[in-house]
């Protein structure tokens, strides 16, 4: 009895000693700031910062090799917290959101063939450049929605991707996934966008889409500072965003949209109450 208690206890003590020594000898130094930074990051591992996940970015920031303002999903709040941990001054870049530059769903834009293959935009794009007649339009098979780590992209019933301005954190994963470059980044404060990506001439656009930009220049003539027309496609000059809304109602094909008035038809997202701060952690 006694012998067994002593022997077992002895083994236990020896093992404890060995573990204790090993813990000292093989201890890995972790910068406490790295752990603190990891705490404040969103934890989505989206890769928007350019590092493989939040852990790698926290390490790089604590080590001084990365800019502390790169976490776009975290926004200004996270940047302020990281700056506080590091004891430096840092201000976040202007918040950005991704915008789907298309409103031509399957009801409003023509299809050139009936696609029956793999339900994926990249796969469809490989077959005669995609089933949409418009070379720049949204294919509507949801490849972007599947890669979004924040659930910010919904597919409407008629096959159009719509990005929530509240949920989008600007990580750009959807931009990399889209085979047709339909999605682009824009400042969050801008609510007026030209939702068209076709660089074809107006007469051709009219043939395949009811809501495409026909480069009629009416928006540019209404507010010359806020719109430019390049390659038969209008574009909002975001520096003059405030004035852009004046041309929304004048667009003959209704391809200019003010998100303050709501999302494209068919979307279940509601209009944001305050487009600049809604959904952002302060």
């Amino acid at each position: 009895m006694l012998a067994s208690i002593l022997s077992l206890g002895g083994i236990g003590l020896l093992a404890a000693l060995a573990l204790g020594l090993a813990a000292r000898k093989f201890a890995v130094e972790v910068d406490p700031r790295e752990l603190a930074i990891l705490e404040v990051l969103s934890g989505a591992n989206c890769g928007a910062c350019g590092y493989p996940g939040c852990g790698a970015y926290a390490k790089a920031v604590a080590g001084g090799t990365a800019d502390p303002t790169l976490c776009t999903p975290g926004g200004a709040g996270t940047v302020a917290q990281i700056a506080h941990i590091l004891g430096v001054e840092a201000t976040a870049a202007e918040p950005q959101v991704a915008v789907v530059r298309c409103q031509g769903d399957n009801d409003r834009a023509k299809l050139k063939y009936h696609y029956l293959g793999i339900y994926d935009c990249t796969a469809a794009q490989r077959i005669a450049d995609g089933p949409k007649s418009c070379p720049g339009g949204c294919l509507g098979l949801g490849t972007c929605a599947r890669v979004c780590p924040f659930g910010a992209i919904e597919m409407t019933a008629a096959g159009l991707a719509v990005i929530s301005r509240e949920k989008c954190t600007g990580c750009r994963k959807c931009i990399a996934a889209c085979p047709r470059q339909v999605i682009a980044m824009a400042p969050l404060r801008a609510t007026v966008h030209v939702l068209c990506n076709s660089q074809d001439k107006g007469a051709l656009v009219r043939k395949y889409c009811q809501v495409g930009c026909i480069a009629c220049q009416i928006c540019h003539k209404t507010v010359p500072a806020a719109y430019v027309i390049e390659n038969s496609l209008a574009r909002v000059v975001y520096e003059h965003q405030e004035e852009a809304a004046a041309a929304v109602a004048k667009c003959p094909t209704r391809c200019i949209r003010d998100f303050a008035e709501g999302y494209p038809e068919g979307s279940r997202f509601s209009a944001p109450t305050c487009p600049t701060t809604a959904g952002r952690a302060a």
Binding site: Y113, L116, G117, I118, T122, A123, R126, I127, A128, D129
Partner: protein, 438 residues
């Protein structure tokens, strides 16, 4: 005797009865010929005519760019009315030369045959290249490249492909029946250029008449005609080599790695025309068939003839069209409409009405292994497709996705209707893109 074949593959209903007995008919000239500058694998040709130019039949309208490229010729005489992007069988508008025929169908001056026997190899190869000859089986690889093997890869066997294993198509079959002497003549030229020891002509056993005719035509030459088991894809280059001489082309390799060059019988006939008559490749034989065409036929058709003209010549379509395929139903490409023209690779045009090309909705993989058994490349289509659909392209590469020949056996046999070939093609494209990036 057991017929030669390869492991794997399958036999879809061949439906050749619609056209196999019909002699080749000359397709009348259309109102407009649209000659695409990209009709072969490799760099597209550069247009060398402008609007308003008068061209003769056989005149070069597009010059070859680079070694793996061939010139493009006017397929009748007439005026150039446009040089612009036009619908192409690839599904998008590509640069083309549009010719309005003058009806005279006048050959370019100075065409003359050359006695092949007195020519050196180099000038013969140049002549074949200048004639714009590419593999007419459908892959359209420039023939002169295949006839210029690198010095460290000696070629000892020439294989002629008269298999025509795709359902519906009977163009090569009819050519063998009607013009065996042209084929044999072309083969002797190819034999000489390659300096081969052995020449084999493979024909599937479902064409006994073609086997008989070719055997007779080859009597007294060194060409052996071999009957092959009826199985798809017997006419695929690597499967044909395995069936005929039992050699397997290594993974990632070419037939020349096992000392073989494979040419289609139609290509051999075109080589004979180029050398004996100096005629460039301006026409080919195409089968117009399918359940939705009124009068299926084998047509001798000019390169650049719009598909709609072919349909009109064959009595028009029966009712509404649901699917249009250029080439065979297994490997051909679906068309957006009938606007695209016939190119050098157009072995056939198939029309199907609604419900005649059924496609079940996709279901889950039931692990039956039919695709694996049918795969003539001995890879695992189901595993590669599964990896591809999860974007795990490295793993797909590990399963030898690049060895897929895209024959479609797996998709055809899959009871769950999984688009296996499409997924594998996606994996191949991703792997190639990664390799290019380095």
């Amino acid at each position: 005797m057991r017929l030669k074949s390869f492991p794997g593959g399958l036999h879809p209903p061949d439906n050749k009865q619609f056209t196999a007995h019909k002699a080749i008919v000359d397709c009348p000239l259309p109102a407009e010929l649209v000659i695409p500058l990209s009709q072969h694998i490799g760099a597209p040709a550069d247009a060398c005519v402008k609007v308003g130019d008068l061209v003769a039949k056989g005149e070069v309208v597009g010059q070859a760019r680079g070694f793996v490229s061939v010139p493009v010729h006017a397929s009748t005489s007439g005026a150039v009315v446009a040089v612009e992007p036009r619908p192409h069988p690839a599904g998008k508008p590509l640069p083309a030369v549009v010719i309005k025929p003058d009806g005279e169908d006048r050959w370019i001056d100075g065409l003359a045959g050359i006695p092949a026997e007195e020519q050196d190899d180099e000038s013969l190869r140049d002549r074949i290249r200048a004639a714009g000859i590419v593999g007419l089986g459908g892959a359209t690889f420039p023939t002169h490249v295949k006839l210029t093997p690198p010095g460290d890869k000696p070629i000892d066997t020439l294989i002629l492909n008269g298999v025509e294993c795709e359902p519906y198509l009977t163009a090569d079959h009819r050519l063998m029946l009607e013009n065996p002497e042209r084929i044999v003549d072309g083969i002797t030229i190819l034999q000489r250029l390659l300096g081969v020891r052995r020449t084999l002509l493979g024909i599937e056993a479902n064409k006994p008449d073609a086997i008989a005719v070719m055997t007779k035509a080859c009597a007294g030459t060194s060409i052996e005609v071999v009957a092959l088991a009826v199985k798809y894809p017997q006419g695929a280059e690597k499967q044909l080599i395995l069936a005929l001489i039992g050699k397997e082309v290594p993974s990632g390799g070419l037939p020349m790695d096992v000392g073989v060059v494979v040419q289609n019988v139609g290509t051999a006939a075109a080589v004979a025309d180029a050398v004996r008559h100096g005629r460039p490749l301006v026409e080919r034989i195409a089968t117009v068939s399918g359940p939705a065409i009124a009068n299926p036929q084998n047509l001798r058709v000019r390169i650049g003839t719009p598909l709609s003209h072919l349909v009109a010549v064959c009595g028009g379509a029966k009712g509404e069209l649901a699917k249009i395929i250029m080439g065979g139903p297994m490997m051909g490409s679906a068309q957006l409409g009938l606007e695209a023209p016939v190119t050098r690779g157009t072995s056939g045009l198939l029309l199907f009405g609604p419900g005649q090309f059924p496609r079940a909705p996709e279901g889950p993989c039931i692990r039956c292994g039919r695709c694996v058994r049918a795969c003539p490349a001995h890879i695992l289509p189901t595993a590669i497709a599964a990896c591809a659909r999860l974007d795990r392209f490295d793993e797909a590469e590990g399963f030898d996705a690049m060895d897929c020949i895209e024959c479609g056996c797996c998709t055809y046999t899959c009871p769950a209707a999984i688009p296996l070939v499409q997924a594998i093609r996606q994996a191949k494209a991703a792997i190639l893109a990664k390799r290019r990036k380095g």
